[in-house]
């Protein structure tokens, strides 16, 4: 594997390999010395053109725990704010001899473009409304662990139903998750108001439903998406209150969930909008597990890309 640009690049054995390795990586958190020497002498640059807390910091921790040198560059405070183009920024960073570039950009396809300009490995850490493959991997890791409480050796998600609820149109998390969950064999149901379903949704390998209450009793995993206020200027729904009534995971809706089902949210949460505090802090909420999985999964991906010979 040279780059990680899309969840569609991964087949089921590759996903299983990454998740199994992430299980091993997760043991590092409990050790006396939280460090493995595998990427000693490698340099990873986090190039973030968009704000991020958990993705950037977990890539940083992941790189450091594998002994790579990690440098963070964010658009604010760099030459990007002086008007440097993406291409020049990427070429400049690559010219310093880095081994991997982790890119987050507001334009869909930016990491793919970058991968054509430079020799270093490129990891997509979220591009516009396109994809966020490591988020999908950490979600799959968290969901697999949850399922394994019931079936210890489970690796395929065959027969499982995952409902992804909210702003599908603008969500790169939803796109990557649809692709990855589909590869793993899960049935994916997208739940959203018609205004937040993207054009061409008919060609996706999913079921689509606009009635949350009808889907809830069938879902093994309920994945709530953040309402992206920064992208909500287009009048997609009348008021936040109405959104919550139709598509928020409220306390009454918790009662509709199937026994054993769990709640996911990629964060950051708008408590009281798409998810109630009762749901976010519920016993079957996996939200903090997702955060913890972020480091392990990103360690696994960095090792897969950088761990061997060039």
């Amino acid at each position: 594997m040279r780059h990680l640009l899309s969840a569609a690049d991964l087949d089921q054995p590759q996903i299983t390999e990454i998740l199994d390795l992430a299980e091993e990586m997760s043991l590092v958190q409990g050790r006396a010395v939280k460090k493995l020497p595998a990427l000693r002498g490698r340099t990873v640059v986090n190039l973030f053109f968009e704000d991020s807390t958990r993705t950037r910091s977990s890539f940083e921790i992941a790189g450091k725990w594998l002994s790579a040198d990690v440098i963070n560059i964010s658009a604010k405070g760099s030459s990007v704010s002086k008007g440097e183009s993406l291409r020049d920024t990427v070429l400049t960073v690559a010219a310093m001899g880095v081994d991997a570039l982790v890119i987050r950009h507001h334009a869909s396809g930016a990491p793919w473009q970058a991968s054509r300009w430079i020799d270093a490995h490129v990891l997509n850490a979220g591009d516009g409304t396109h994809e966020h493959p490591t988020q999908a991997l950490l979600d799959a890791f968290t969901i697999r662990r949850h399922f394994r409480h019931f079936v210890p050796d489970l690796s395929s998600f065959e027969g499982k139903t995952v409902a992804i609820v909210g702003d599908i149109t603008h969500s790169r998390v939803a796109r990557s998750n649809v692709l990855l969950l589909n590869t793993l064999g899960a049935e994916v149901i997208l739940v959203a108001p018609p205004t937040l379903l993207p054009a061409g949704i008919d060609s996706w390998p999913v079921l689509v439903c606009t009635d949350f209450d009808q889907v809830l009793p069938h879902a093994d995993i309920v994945m709530m998406l953040r309402v992206q206020r920064e992208r909500m200027s287009g009048g997609y729904f009348p008021t936040p209150r109405e959104y919550t009534i139709g598509y928020g995971l409220t306390r009454p809706r918790l009662e509709l969930m199937k026994p054993g089902a769990a709640i996911c949210h990629p964060g950051p949460m708008n408590r009281g909008l798409e998810i109630s505090a009762d749901a976010a802090d519920a016993a079957n909420s996996l939200i903090l597990d997702q955060v913890a999985a972020g480091v392990s999964v990103r360690m696994s991906v960095l090792y897969e890309l950088l761990g061997g010979a060039e």
């Binding site: 390795l21 091993e24 050790r31 493995l36 020497p37 061997g308």
Partner: protein, 205 residues
Amino acid sequence: MSGTGMPQAWPEDARPGVAGSVTSRVVMEADQIARACARMAHQILEANRGADGLVLLGIPTRGVPLAHRLAKVMDEIEGVRVPVGALDVTMYRDDLRRQPTRAVGRTDVPVEVEGSTVVLVDDVLYSGRTVRAALDALGDLGRPRVVRLAVLVDRGHRELPIRADHVGRDIPTRTGEHVSVRLTELDGIDQVSIEPAGNPDHGEA
């Protein structure tokens, strides 16, 4: 001596590695492996004056079932259950950059290694590089009081100043040859054989 094509027990006094051999030769059969394990288990207990503070850590892949076998013998002798674990050393190897990304094995250390007597268990001792990696991996888990090394086969050709404390069998080999250890738990048969140069199928230590 070689050339019959049939696996056969190799006489104790015959030197393996005779020039010109092209077929694989069996050098240890199931009963010999069992006796070697029993002896090593006794030796480990003797050197440690019992089972106090002992931890057996197998190096994947075949060191792990061997560690379990040693623990089983110790249980039979002393009636104590010595903790057994697995210590994967892949990410500590010095040859990571020389080949495609290596698959990482399981690490499962059941007890604190801090202050304990750790016996590293592996199938074949060769260059010593795996053991060096294992010592580094162990150091990141804690500081054992003592670390010992037990191997089923010592085939020579060390590249580092490392030796084993407990050896099942010394088997002289030539550099190009490959020592193949098969264990019932993983391979359906207990057998050690020497494969001629040219088809290494798993890296030995």
